[in-house]
Structures are given as structure tokens and as C-alpha cells.
């Protein structure tokens, strides 16, 4: 079926969104067409606003609306501990635990030689610069437990340990609620290595 040009333009834009195929795009477009004008305009405004108001925090590269992000601007956070994550989404995941009181540094990716992503493409230089400014005693490396995340962690440890700063790595082991017999050798090996006294 042929749509008017304005609808085709909308469909085209929607299909560019992650996880949205032609079917979902049609569903969203149909909803927008039948929704109240005010609803559609609110969505359009929210999109424009987020693009204008949100930038990367110049200290940790998290999303920020004010000059610094809410975490860097919070005086109750302990700035001597920096948790290093790959993406802002990972930061949000660590925050959900609500146990961590330090600050963050978002690398915006992980080292992946095969994809041509080296340390220079990440916010690693900025992390090292922070170590010279703030009194930092510990770097917690919370990159993903996959080959790219491990490579990044090893690289950071090699770079930062000589500066006399403690570098720790989040433990990787068995998922809570799972059965031991289904664990793979690598995960189980890691879990055994990181065992603790009870």
C-alpha cells in the first residue's frame, strides 16, 4: 500500500531506530497518527530537548544535563574510588545495586583489535588525567567479562598500577540462581579462583 509522503518520511526515520523493523515502525506510526496531537508533540519535544540539553560530563563522560553529571556533582560521593565502565548503561546497572558510593569513568567502548578499536579511541587518556588531579586510591575495573572487556582491564592495570594506585577487577563467577552442573569450564574456573573464606 502507498502512503502519503509525510507518512513515508516518518516510517523511514522510525526504521532507523535500534530494534525497529518495518512492522514495528508501522505500529508506532499508526499509534502516532491516531494519538492526540498533544501526545505526539510532547514526544517530539522530548526528543529535541534531550538532544539539546544532554551532553557528556567532562569529568567522567556519563550523560549530564548540568555542567557535571549528577554523580560527579554529588559531594557525598567518594571521589577517591573510580569505577570504570564501558558504557553509560553499565554505569546505570552498577548504580541500581546502590552499594557503590564512589564515582565513575565511562570509556565509551572496549579495546577490540579486530574492530580497530585501540586505547586511543576510548576515554582512557582522560582517565589518566583525572588520576593526576583527584586523590584517587582505587580503580575498580567493571568492563564486561568478555575478551574485549578483559583486554581493556589488562591494559588499564598495566597503565595504572605503576602510578601506585590500587587496581581491582570485579569478580566473575557463577550467576546467582543457576546450577553448578551447567556452568562452563571458564566461568567455573574463574569462580574457583575468586573463592572466598567463609
Amino acid at each position: 500500500m502507498r502512503y502519503p509522503a509525510a507518512i513515508n518520511r516518518l516510517l523511514e526515520e522510525l526504521e532507523r531506530l535500534p530494534g525497529i523493523g518495518p512492522k514495528s515502525a508501522q505500529r508506532v506510526a499508526y499509534w502516532l497518527l491516531t494519538a492526540e496531537t498533544a501526545d505526539a508533540e510532547r514526544l517530539a519535544r522530548a526528543i529535541t530537548e534531550v538532544k539539546h540539553a544532554i551532553h557528556f560530563c567532562p569529568r567522567c563522560f556519563n550523560f549530564a544535563e548540568a555542567e557535571l553529571c549528577t554523580i560527579c556533582a554529588d559531594p557525598t560521593r567518594d571521589s577517591s574510588t573510580i569505577c570504570v565502565v564501558e558504557e553509560p548503561r553499565d554505569l546505570a546497572a552498577v548504580e541500581r545495586v546502590a552499594e557503590y558510593r564512589g564515582v565513575y569513568h565511562v570509556l565509551h567502548g572496549a579495546i577490540s583489535p579486530i574492530d580497530g578499536i585501540g586505547p586511543d579511541q576510548l576515554r582512557i587518556r582522560e582517565l589518566i588525567e583525572r588520576l593526576g588531579v583527584d586523590e584517587v586510591s582505587e580503580i575498580v575495573v567493571a568492563t564486561n567479562p568478555n575478551v574485549e572487556g578483559e583486554t581493556t582491564a589488562l591494559y588499564l592495570a598495566r597503565l595504572i598500577k605503576p602510578l601506585g594506585i590500587k587496581v581491582t577487577r570485579i569478580a566473575s563467577g557463577l550467576p546467582v540462581g543457576g546450577d553448578l552442573e551447567y556452568a562452563d569450564e571458564v566461568t567455573l574456573g574463574r569462580a574457583l579462583e575468586a573463592r572466598r573464606e567463609m
Partner: protein, 249 residues
């Protein structure tokens, strides 16, 4: 044939949607296979850490509508040591990248799988100092299997005896005599001593290369030459090789 077993080496992972991954694999017969592992990015994935790059796995495959699906995975060799050391993982990434570029779907070359798995196992335990020589040896051997074996004895252009020449022509694919070298503006300087090392690496097993204690000057000359050779003959850039070259001490 809805379900079938496949032994393969994991080369790389590409994100697909929210939690799925497309794996590029080198099958045991040397052909390339691309397959989907559903939910692999979830910490609770039943595949766990079995499908990380550089792992050799026994898979149960299912022919899906458009792509192959991985339904079960069992570790044959995890090569975990490659992921726990920066130099070893960078070396292994060169292996994975080259295989990703030279292997083709449906094109069989069983020697390539054996060479790759053996190389990765040697990379995992060999002395760190031997890694550059091992990377050079792997690239040479894999390129030779792919149909690009550098001519290291006679002139690659006129077939005369090129014994004393330090000219190497990328377009002719080997050493050239001084006369032929002068005709080709792209001729590289390649010292005779380094040439002897290249011949030796081609004729040695990976375990022998790990123990050969190649001098630093020969490593530098051979690495530069092999890097140019690979770059000249492959249509795609080996980003992992650029990365590897950049991290040399």
C-alpha cells in the same frame, strides 16, 4: 538436515539486536560459518563463557530460516590463557582477524583449522619474547595455504639466482634480483639474513618457532615485510595487525 554437529574455532562476535550475537567461526574443514547464539550477552546465558573468541568448541547447529543457529556448545579447548595476557590476546587477535578475512563460506581447507588451533595453543604457553616470531610464522603459513607463498630462493620475476639480493617485490610475490628490483618502483629492502629467517620460519613447526630465539633485528625486518605482504595481497585491512604493530615495545 535440521540439526548437525560442528567443531569450530570462534573468531569474532558481532552484536545482533539486544542480547543475541552472530559468531564468525572457522569450521574444522577450514570453511567459514556464521551463526547466531541467542541470548549470549545475558549473564545467565546457557552458553556461559564457552563461545568467547579463540575457543575451540563442539557445537550443535540448527539450520534456521535465514541464519544458522547454535543450540548447544561444549568446550574442546578454551585457550583461557590467551585472554589473561595483553600480548597473547593481541597476538591471538591477529590470528582471528586473518582467518576472518581469508576463510570463505563453503570453501574447504582443513590444514587452516589445524594450523590455527595449534598456533593458538602455542601462543598460550610460549615465552612472551617468542610471540612476534610466532605471529610472523602464522601469517606466512596461513598466507601460503591461501595461495600466497612468498618466493624466497630464485628471482620471482626472471627466475635467475637471487642469492645475494636484498630486494623484495610485492607485485612479483618474492625476492627479486638486483636487475628486476631496479625495474619495480615498489621494491622493498629485505636483508639477506632476514630472508634466511623467513625461510626457516616457513619450514618450522609452531613449537620450533617458539624455541628459535629469533634476533630482534630479524623480527623487525620480517614483521615489516610480512605486514606489507599481507596488506598487498588481501583486499581488507587487518586491523588487529595494525593494533599489534602499534603496541610493539
Amino acid at each position: 538436515m535440521p540439526s548437525y554437529p560442528l567443531k569450530a574455532l570462534v573468531l569474532r562476535k558481532t552484536k545482533l539486536g539486544e542480547t543475541d550475537i552472530i559468531l564468525t567461526l572457522l569450521a574444522q574443514d577450514g570453511s567459514q560459518v556464521r551463526a547466531v547464539a541467542k541470548g549470549l550477552r545475558k549473564p545467565s546465558s546457557r552458553f556461559g563463557g564457552r563461545l568467547e573468541p579463540f575457543s575451540v568448541v563442539d557445537l550443535l547447529m540448527h539450520t534456521g530460516k535465514s541464519l544458522e543457529l547454535i543450540t548447544e556448545a561444549r568446550t574442546v579447548t578454551a585457550h583461557a590463557g590467551l585472554r589473561e595476557d595483553l600480548d597473547r590476546s593481541a597476538s591471538a587477535a591477529v590470528v582471528a582477524d586473518l582467518l576472518d578475512k581469508i576463510s570463505v563460506q563453503g570453501q574447504v581447507e582443513p590444514r587452516l583449522f589445524d594450523l590455527s588451533v595449534t598456533s593458538l595453543s602455542v601462543f598460550e604457553t610460549a615465552p612472551s619474547e617468542s610471540l612476534p616470531a610466532l605471529v610472523i610464522a602464522f601469517l606466512l603459513k596461513a598466507m601460503a595455504m591461501h595461495g600466497y607463498r612468498p618466493e624466497l630462493e630464485n628471482c620471482a620475476a626472471c627466475a635467475c639466482d637471487a642469492a645475494g639480493s636484498s630486494d623484495f617485490s610485492l607485485s612479483h610475490g618474492g625476492v627479486v634480483c638486483a636487475e628486476c628490483g631496479a625495474l619495480d618502483p615498489g621494491t622493498l629492502r629485505f636483508p639477506v639474513q632476514a630472508r634466511a629467517w623467513l625461510t626457516r620460519l616457513l619450514g618450522s613447526t609452531m613449537a620450533e618457532v617458539a624455541a628459535c630465539e629469533m634476533p630482534a633485528a630479524a623480527v623487525a625486518d620480517c614483521f615489516a615485510l610480512v605486514r606489507s605482504f599481507v596488506g598487498y595481497h588481501l583486499p581488507a585491512r587487518l586491523k588487529a595487525l595494525d593494533y599489534y604493530a602499534g603496541m610493539a615495545p
